[in-house]
């Protein structure tokens, strides 16, 4: 947009998103590909639509096997992380591939994931601009099961759409003490 349209898109320094890298200055919180994509979406559509598109982005992201984009013929394994978190995504990919977190292969993987997220975001925005956007992804089914009590009805003691069992294990019914 900066190159093809110019103003006002040439007023945004991309360096403002630099610290998203490493899941937020190396903390491995949310994957650093997502906050810039969220901001790009929020820049061009109204806030209600932006919430819908980011919901679709996250639901696609947790199920997508990264890295799809491998420009130099790397042939890396593609792993779905089932999480928006850098820590979970990278740990699973390293467990599958055997590479080190501080190696060049991990950097390649995250570079590829950045390209994948940018591509999906642009395609989604283009579809929306053509009145052709339809949400095609959803949170994991377990989220609805857990949130039936823990979300709106019942306890209402937590919130979120991440796949509950990724961190909480497979809980028996009724739940044991401590959960």
């Amino acid at each position: 947009m900066k190159e093809e349209v110019g103003y006002p898109f040439d007023q945004l320094p991309t360096e403002m998103f630099w610290t998203a890298r490493g899941g937020g200055a190396g903390w491995s919180s949310i994957c650093g590909t997502l906050p810039p994509a969220m901001a790009a979406i929020g820049l061009v559509v109204d806030t209600d639509t932006a919430m819908q598109l980011v919901d679709e982005l996250f639901a696609w992201f947790i199920a997508h096997p990264f890295p799809e984009y491998q420009p130099h013929g790397e042939d890396y394994a593609k792993v779905a992380g089932d999480s928006t978190l850098c820590h979970v995504q990278v740990t699973k990919w390293l467990a599958e591939t055997g590479y080190r977190q501080d190696g060049p292969e991990r950097s390649d993987r995250c570079g590829g994931a950045s390209a994948d997220v940018a591509k999906f975001t642009v395609e989604m925005l283009n579809a929306y601009a053509d009145n052709a956007f339809e949400a095609a992804h959803s949170p994991a089914a377990v989220v609805g099961e857990c949130m039936a009590c823990h979300g709106g009805e019942g306890f209402a003691d937590t919130r979120g759409k991440e796949t509950c069992t990724e961190c909480h294990g497979n809980l028996p019914d009724p739940h044991p003490d401590g959960y």
Copy 2:
């Protein structure tokens, strides 16, 4: 800055950060106060400095009892979440206070936390502008212990600075199978 300086700070629509709310369109991933603060920091300092300031912001954030800002005399309990994640922060606050995730008190809490993060970020940037910035917060000590093997040396099979034991429990030495 938009009001006092004008251009170029009046070129950034704050709506671009709208979807940070609810930890990213309601997914309860990273706390929605943080991506806008990260972008604000990245807008005004060089990238290396931005990484240092965001590192300090995150280390302060996980230890800060939210909400400090309670403008209407609410007298809510202040709870440190030990995590950058919306899900963890909110769940702990609800467990402490007994409120519901969909209630007005939880909204008050997150509004107060937004103010707290904005204040800390501005004070940190002002200190930096006065050549008086000094990092005063650190990740939890356990991160160094775990990452001695799991980070740089040894396995190097994961990354991050979040408090490991918040999600992984207190692991015995040697670790059991499955960790």
